[in-house]
């Protein structure tokens, strides 16, 4: 398991570095068109070929990785921050009602409803930011429910009573006393949300409701899978899916190890 974890960390680090330094690693710009090589097969010039409008697929995949590497954690962070903020300041009955309501509605459906209200004439850059911001906003309920549960336990603790009795202000109590207890919960929530958001972005991209063209994302790169004849003739179209699966498996391996360790601690 240690070896699998080390390999996963190495692979993820490599993918993140390549994604962050996309302009260095990508042979071309993501929107550069080569009209003389439309839908060309892999070659020395284009390692995984070009798409229907003559853009290098490898460059687009590297830039798509950058978008996912930067914006998926940002969306997860937004969800965790919103969940924490709402559960800290909101009245208990309201949080309970709202989280039940949000969790009753499938997440992707809530996102589709919000996405449909976006203006049509937004630029690709704004659209990508809005897509991930909405993703972060729509996913606040699950962390909020977990934080509420933890806060309920904290509220009954003697040390909190002691803090209040000593006249500490709310912000100081929240920052100095409550946050250290919630930090591990927040990290766990953040780690759970990342793979969920990667998969959601992929599904939204396949539905055409994700990142707008010409910006690439893992979801929009999967759009070509909707044409089976094309995939059968050009199996290298599966490269984005393979990359996505590698990332997901690595995240799963990294997530499983601490979970096992925690379980061991609890049972022992």
């Amino acid at each position: 398991m240690k070896l699998a974890r080390a390999i996963s960390m190495l692979l993820l680090a490599l993918i993140v570095i390549v994604g962050l330094a996309a302009p260095l690693f990508a042979p071309y710009k993501y929107d550069q068109q080569f009209r003389e090589s439309i839908a060309s097969p892999p070659s020395k010039r284009f390692l995984i070929g070009t798409d229907d409008v003559g853009r290098d697929r490898l460059s687009r995949l590297i830039y798509a990785t950058r978008i996912s590497v930067l914006l998926v954690p940002a969306a997860a962070l937004l969800s965790v921050a919103l969940g924490l903020g709402i559960s800290l300041v909101g009245p208990r009955w309201l949080i309970s009602g709202l989280t039940t309501l949000f969790l009753s509605l499938p997440w992707i459906f809530a996102f589709i409803v919000m996405r449909s209200e976006l203006p049509l004439n937004t630029s690709p850059a704004v659209s990508v930011m809005l897509t991930f911001a909405l993703m972060g906003f729509a996913g606040w309920a699950y962390p909020a429910r977990v934080f509420s549960g933890s806060l309920r336990q904290i509220e009954q603790s003697d040390w909190l009573l002691c803090c209040r009795a000593s006249g500490m202000p709310f912000l100081r109590i929240a920052g100095r006393c409550i946050w250290p207890h919630l930090r591990s919960v927040a990290v766990a929530q953040f780690r759970v949300l990342i793979p969920a958001y990667i998969l959601s972005e992929a599904s939204l991209g396949l539905l055409g409701l994700g990142v707008a063209e010409p910006l690439p994302s893992w979801g929009t790169m999967l759009l070509e899978l909707r044409r089976p004849d094309l995939v059968q003739a050009n199996p290298w179209l599966l490269t984005p899916l393979c990359l996505l699966m590698v990332v997901m498996v690595c995240l799963e391996i990294l997530d499983a190890t601490p979970r096992k360790a925690t379980a061991g601690e609890i049972t022992s």
Binding site: T100, S104, P106, F109, S116, S203, L207, M245, M248, E252
Partner: protein, 209 residues
């Protein structure tokens, strides 16, 4: 109910579309629960140390594939789409089911039953299902929500005329009245399901975890 932006009565649209979705979600949820239950049972009760690793790997691999891609693959292979929902549910239920089964497995009631020589079928239905009924019902409610979330891209991409496809069409056409009606119906349905689970639990005398 009001009319959609295309002057179609929403109630009629929902009536037309609810059957394929119910079929997809029903069979998908049943299959997913069964498969996840089988995997989790193998992982908990198998004597061989390789089995939990194998089941966790299967679950992890299924989690790594976006359900929409799985749906497309099944659509082109003309395989039953309910299986997509089932396979998408497996990794999401597997971890929780393992936790439930591990809890039940060490309960004194089950150890005593085994010591008395009670058969495996009676143990499964009476002791395990009975002891974990409240948690399993709660999990079923979550499974239905996940199944519907998975059904949206599957129906939209695989041309299934269900509520998921309707939601997708409504989103692309910016049909807010229809989207609101759908959101209301789905939320009410899931809340009703949770309430039924609670009532069932109260009837069984179980406690919700």
């Amino acid at each position: 109910m009001a009319e959609s932006l295309h002057d179609q009565p929403i109630a009629g649209l929902l009536r037309e579309r609810i059957k394929p979705t119910a079929w997809l979600i029903g069979w998908g949820t049943a299959g997913g629960c069964l498969l996840a239950g089988l995997l989790a049972s193998c992982a908990v009760w198998s004597a061989h140390p390789a089995v939990p690793v194998a089941t966790a790997s299967v679950s992890g691999l299924l989690l790594a594939i976006p359900p929409a891609v799985l749906g497309l693959a099944f659509f082109f292979l003309q395989a039953p789409l309910a299986l997509v929902i089932a396979l998408a549910l497996v990794p999401r239920l597997y971890g929780t089911l393992i936790a439930i089964l591990q809890d039940v497995n060490v309960s004194p009631m089950l150890i005593a039953a085994r010591a008395r020589g009670v058969g495996p079928i009676v143990i499964g239905f009476r002791y395990i299902a009975g002891a974990a009924a409240s948690r399993l019902t709660a999990l079923l409610g979550i499974a239905v929500v996940i199944a519907f979330g998975t059904a949206v891209p599957v129906e939209a991409l695989c041309d299934v005329p269900g509520l998921g496809q309707l939601a997708w069409h409504a989103a692309t056409a910016r049909d807010l009245p229809l989207l609101c009606a759908l959101a209301l119906i789905i939320t009410s349905g899931v809340t009703l399901l949770h309430a039924m689970g609670d009532i069932l639990n109260a009837g069984l005398g179980g406690e919700r975890a």
